[in-house]
């Protein structure tokens, strides 16, 4: 493989394209559910959102009930060009949301109100930023995580520093 192939971003690989407005609509519903969760401390609401995140993270953002509501009720009312996006960025955000919701659920079950509040707050902030400001969580977080991970693995085994595990 030439250096150019290693170096360059592979934009020709098969990527699944989504209607970019779908995940943003999902983020709006997520914001509402998580806001209600934060105010009431409701475990059923949190477990519902945990399930939605799990579907988005493992089956893809188009597999969530929010994506279904978007396709069924919102999309038919929209006109104009369909902005598309790679499915991987919103899926990454669903994985991060899932981890925060999982932490919050465990904290709630163990009666740790502080951890519950912080975990729900972070997930809510990310969903709100995505819905209102079109915030791209993968853009901001992923490279920082990769840098930290490689710094840690480089300290352990310098020669393996580029064989990073997949997220």
């Amino acid at each position: 493989m030439s250096i150019t192939n290693v170096l360059k971003f592979n934009s020709t690989e098969d990527v699944k394209l989504l209607d970019a407005r779908g995940p943003r609509f999902g983020a709006l519903l997520t914001t509402i559910v998580l806001a209600a969760t934060l105010v009431t401390g409701s475990l059923p609401l949190l477990i519902w959102q945990l399930g939605v995140f799990a579907l988005g993270a493992f089956a893809g953002p188009q597999a969530t009930p929010y994506a279904w509501i978007y396709r069924k009720f919102v999309k038919p009312r929209l006109s104009g060009d369909i902005p598309t996006e790679d499915s991987r960025p919103p899926q990454f955000a669903q994985v991060v949301g899932f981890l925060f919701a999982l932490t919050a659920t465990l904290a709630q079950l163990l009666d740790s109100i502080a951890v519950f509040t912080v975990a729900v707050s972070f997930a809510l902030a990310a969903a709100f930023l995505n819905a209102v400001f079109n915030f791209c969580l993968g853009c901001e977080m992923y490279l920082r995580i990769a840098r930290i991970r490689s710094a840690i693995s480089m300290r352990k085994t310098p020669e393996d520093s580029y064989n990073l595990p997949n997220l």
């Binding site: 971003f9 729900v120 993968g138 990769a146």
Partner: protein
């Protein structure tokens, strides 16, 4: 009893961050080229630098605006034979990422003919800003 304090804090901080995020992302900031060292050389990017300008874009897989940035910069540079656009996978080139202190994607560096960084955009830049920057570099 319901507690509204956490949600108040979250929405306040997130809104402040969101406004800053929206303003800063995509802005093309110029850098003084004097006393600069080449940021990247031909051997770093595996091909010759542009004879006038090289646009070095850092991308990652979990990044929606990277696609738009790639399309825009490819479109702009196709017609210009003295400007080169290179798209680098940030995750596979963490040594370059660290050296150039790239923190998020897409980040686009504007290099002059000597490979010195004269501008940088974090987030998807606007067409007019890229054109203005290109026109300002001899």
């Amino acid at each position: 009893m319901d507690n509204y304090l956490p949600i108040l804090i979250v929405f306040t901080l997130a809104t402040a961050y969101g406004l800053w995020y929206q303003r800063s992302r995509g802005q093309l900031k110029s850098k003084s080229s004097r006393a600069g060292k080449p940021a990247l050389t031909a051997s770093d990017i595996g091909q010759d630098l542009g004879s006038r300008v090289t646009l070095v874009q850092f991308s990652s897989a979990f990044c929606t605006p990277c696609r738009a940035t790639r399309a825009l910069l490819t479109d702009i540079t196709t017609d210009l034979n003295d400007v080169v656009h290179v798209d680098i996978d940030a995750e596979k080139n963490l040594d370059l990422v660290r050296r150039l202190d790239v923190r998020s994607t897409p980040t686009t560096l504007v290099l002059n003919s000597a490979g010195i960084e004269v501008g940088r955009a974090v987030g998807a830049p606007k067409r007019a800003d890229v054109m203005a920057t290109l026109n300002g570099i001899k």
